[in-house]
């Protein structure tokens, strides 16, 4: 099987299999409300230190799209005690790597470094939680950098532009319809005031999660966390995370995106779908299986129907991102063979979905997926940073430690009928967007 690069941007959203290694995980909360997760593993003398803020692009004010990500860049500039760029330079001088990333529901900063440098990392990371000092020049230069980042990730990539249009059509009233990196015209107007306003509201210990993984005993992590993060006062004015909600979606949406740079046309269908909610993850668990059963590789239902039983598709997949604060999406994609039209590909996809609802779930396939989930809990012990990332992502998207730890058992309990029931609910064409990515039409 050959992986298609055209889809790399989509596959980045694949949820993967769940991970919990209970015995290695310690969680607690500092007095100022900062949540802490420690995943201990002494097989290598390395730690990963991360701070996750419950603030992402979906928390931005109207008209300032991209400011969460812009601020992420600006946090590498000066503070009261650090020169611009000094934090990264210090990490590098200590043989470490640092970076940061922004999503809809969170912004996270991390360093990976020798375990005995953890205290230095905490000193610097806690400093920039409250003490950044920006100049106008920082704003102008770094704004150019994020615009080039958008050029690189999105403007130069028709598949990414197509994805933006699908999200915008999917969400009628929710901020998930706006790209994380921002719309270009709004990015161009982002200024110091926008960045600092976002910082003042959201960057505080009671809105943050500290996640440390690797060669550190939890008691030591706690001592350092209290010393550096524990002394920062909570923000009493931290707003509740209330977002606009989706109204009932009553109209099927269709869009066609044409671009001369498209080499490989394809069909993508997005359905509005429930996410993992605190204490209520069962439907999301069923949808996680549904995506795997329909589009998880050579043995999946769509691959069978569209690549083996018929020769409609070069590639097909289903993906579902369950970790999300608000309503998420369930996606299907079919890349047709050159002699197959997008209409034929879409029709074949819908016929396969209809047949799946009749055939039901293959119990053997379900058993194999469950076996892999159990095995993955063994493999995951080889990569504690991945476990740490799962906690950071889940906690910043509204889930609790208990939810994360209950997830494997919830998956284990999912039945074939649960999956079909979830499929019946999610495949509501009125809550869907169907997009065709096409080449520019050639006119004489």
């Amino acid at each position: 099987m050959i992986r298609l690069p055209v889809l790399a941007t989509l596959l980045a959203f694949l949820p993967g299999l769940p991970v919990v290694a209970d015995e290695a995980v310690t969680t607690f909360e500092l007095e100022n409300g900062m949540q802490v997760v420690v995943v201990e593993d002494h097989r290598a003398p390395v730690v990963q230190h991360m701070v996750w803020y419950r603030a992402g692009s979906a928390d931005e004010p109207k008209g300032s799209s991209g400011v969460a990500h812009f601020l992420e860049h600006l946090l590498f500039k000066a503070t009261d005690t650090l020169e611009s760029g000094e934090l990264s330079a210090t990490v590098a001088r200590n043989g470490g790597r640092d970076n940061a990333f922004t999503s809809y529901d969170y912004t996270a900063y991390f360093q990976r470094v020798a375990a005995d440098r953890l205290e230095l990392m905490m000193r610097m990371e806690s400093d920039r939680m409250r003490n950044i000092r920006l100049t106008e020049e920082n704003i102008l230069t770094e704004r150019d950098v994020i615009i080039e980042e958008r050029n690189q990730r999105t403007e130069n990539n028709p598949s990414a532009l197509f994805g933006e249009q699908i999200s915008a059509a999917q969400y009628l009233n929710h901020r998930y319809g706006v790209p994380i990196i921002g719309w270009m015209h709004e990015m161009q107007t982002l200024d110091m005031e926008d960045a600092l306003a976002f910082y003042e509201i959201f960057y505080s210990p009671n809105n943050a999660i500290l996640v440390v993984s690797g060669a550190v005993p939890p008691e030591e992590a706690r001592r350092l966390a209290e010393k550096y993060y524990g002394v920062i006062p909570a923000n009493p004015d931290l707003p509740d995370r209330l977002r606009t909600e989706e109204p009932p979606q009553n109209a099927e949406r269709r869009l066609i995106f044409r671009d001369a740079r498209v080499a490989q046309p394809y069909v993508r269908r997005s359905y509005l779908a429930p996410e993992r909610d605190p204490g209520a993850q069962e439907t999301a668990a069923a949808l996680t299986f549904l995506a795997e059963i329909l589009g998880g590789g050579t043995t999946s239902y769509l691959t069978d129907a569209l690549q083996f039983d018929t020769q409609i598709a070069t590639y097909s997949a289903a993906f579902y991102r369950g970790v999300s604060l608000d309503d998420t999406t369930f996606n299907l994609i079919v890349v047709p063979r050159p002699d197959v039209s997008l209409q034929e590909a879409e029709d074949a996809m819908d016929a396969a979905l209809a047949q799946f609802m009749i055939d039901g779930v293959d119990q053997e396939q379900l058993d194999r997926i469950k076996l892999q989930i159990r095995a993955d809990q063994i493999y995951a012990r080889d990569d504690v940073d991945r476990i740490a990332n799962r906690y950071g992502q889940a906690l910043s998207a509204g889930l609790t430690v208990e939810d994360v730890q209950a997830w494997p058992d919830i998956l284990e309990a999912v039945s074939a009928e649960d999956i079909l029931q979830a499929a019946r609910e999610v495949f509501d064409i009125r809550a869907s967007v169907t997009g065709w990515l096409m080449r520019e039409e050639v006119t004489q």
Binding site: P45, G85, S88, E148, T314
Partner: protein
């Protein structure tokens, strides 16, 4: 871009202020194969990394893409299992196999639970020794390859790489995509794939690393079980390339908002006594992270790009020194000018003592961070074997970094960096840039 960085990581072990606990042992099999092993029984699984030297550059004349397609088919039916039966069997064991092809090697990355070792090895043996190459699987995977070829033709990064490869490698296989062309792939037959398999998967070019819950005795038996049935020899290795990159600019017009540039000139071999000095030099000039001169000048100070990097690319048959940057069409010329200036400045002056010290502490400190899991350690060990490095290399590697002096960096910078010799390939609609006229 990341692809190149990763390959460098694998090739060089490093060791640092912190010492990674990596106790490598050499294991021989009855049939004469050698593997490197790190035993670690703390988690009940094994990571196995196998590489066959030669890779896609062994494509027969007129059969470009055969080895890539063959590699894609190894997991699409083997022994008495068709593609779906093989995939179901793999899933039922919670085993994963990765088959990957590059210019210089075919790699196999396997991961299996201890309790499923025997059955997993049976599957892998079937994939390596008795792949079926069923016609329906060939046609299916061929369509995937053709789709990739068409996508690459409209991807500015791929266009830039391909164009630069032609400038650098002339008529060597390195100059063309290992995917092949639409024409060459369309014409491939089942016999071509069988021949490709025979050319690449041979015992005289195999490198093996294993990490995890397995003893030397078990590994020794496993090696013969997996490989004894493969032919003793395969196709002859390609000849070395005489890299002769002409200086200049090649603009490839492409209607897109951001221009993508790849630049470079001849590089330096890993056997060269100055290789570590060059590595330290590059760390200062354009190595990864935010600290390099190029990142500082092009991104941090001027906001001309999201990322700019340079990297030594030592391949089996050629050594080049490459860089990449992308900027909006009206700013790429400015970015290139800054890069040329930095190249010239480093060639003339070398680096400062502070920069050298910082690069050393980074490189030595970052080394143990690479040994972060059974799979990564297995890959590092195979990379070391392919380079002919000694088994105790990891413990000595940082000494080589530490030994680099300021004077040596200055000398090597003057010898290696050739600001006038740089060739820039720019894909996009770059304002103020034109292709250098051909001589």
């Amino acid at each position: 871009m990341m692809r190149f960085l990763l390959s460098i990581c694998v090739v060089f072990g490093l060791a640092g202020t912190v010492h990674a606990e990596v106790d490598i042992r050499e294991v021989k099999s009855d049939a004469g194969l050698t593997a490197w092993l790190v035993e670690d029984h703390s988690i009940p699984f094994v990571a196995l990394e196998i590489r066959f030297r030669g890779g896609a550059s062994l494509d027969a004349p007129g059969k470009r893409g055969a080895i890539n397609l063959m590699t894609g088919l190894l997991e699409e039916g083997a022994g008495d299992m068709d593609a779906r039966a093989f995939a179901r069997a793999t899933e039922a064991l919670a085993t994963t196999f990765g088959f990957d092809i590059s210019d210089d090697s075919l790699s196999v990355s396997a991961r299996f639970l201890t309790e499923n070792k025997e059955a997993s090895v049976d599957l892998l043996r079937a994939a390596l020794q008795t792949p079926r190459f069923d016609q329906d699987a060939i046609d299916r995977v061929r369509q995937q390859v053709l789709s990739n070829i068409r996508s690459d033709a409209k991807d500015p990064n791929e266009i830039a790489s391909r164009t630069f490869d032609v400038v650098a490698f002339g008529d060597h296989p390195y100059a063309s995509s290992l995917n092949g062309t639409e024409e060459s792939v369309a014409a491939l037959t089942r016999d071509d794939l069988i021949a490709a398999h025979r050319a690449v998967l041979a015992r005289d070019r195999i490198y093996i690393g294993a990490v995890g819950d397995i003893t030397p005795e078990q590994l020794s038996a496993l090696m013969d079980d997996l490989f004894a049935g493969l032919p003793e020899t395969g196709a002859a290795m390609p000849s070395p390339v005489d890299v002769a990159i002409e200086s200049g600019v090649t603009v490839v017009p492409f209607d897109t908002p951001q221009s993508v540039a790849i630049f470079g000139h001849a590089g330096i071999s890993q056997d060269d006594p100055d290789y570590f000095t060059a590595l330290v030099l590059n760390q200062v000039l354009g190595g990864g992270g935010f600290e390099s001169r190029l990142m500082d000048e092009v991104r941090e100070k001027r906001g001309l790009t999201y990322g700019v990097y340079s990297y030594l690319l030592p391949k089996d048959h050629a050594d080049i020194y490459l860089g990449s940057v992308s900027s909006a069409n009206d700013r790429i010329a400015a970015a290139i000018e800054v890069i040329r200036d930095e190249w010239a400045k480093a060639a003339a002056e070398g680096v400062t003592q502070a920069e050298l010290d910082d690069a050393k502490t980074y490189m030595t400190g970052a080394y143990p961070l690479r040994f972060d899991g059974n799979g990564p350690i297995a890959r590092i060990m195979v990379g070391m074997q392919m380079l002919g490095l000694p088994i105790d290399y990891i413990a000595t590697r940082n000494d080589r970094v530490e030994a680099v002096t300021l004077a040596e960096v200055k000398r090597v910078a003057a010898e290696l960096l050739d600001p006038e010799g740089l060739h820039f390939v720019v894909v996009g609609q770059p304002a103020g840039l034109e292709s250098t006229p051909a001589n």
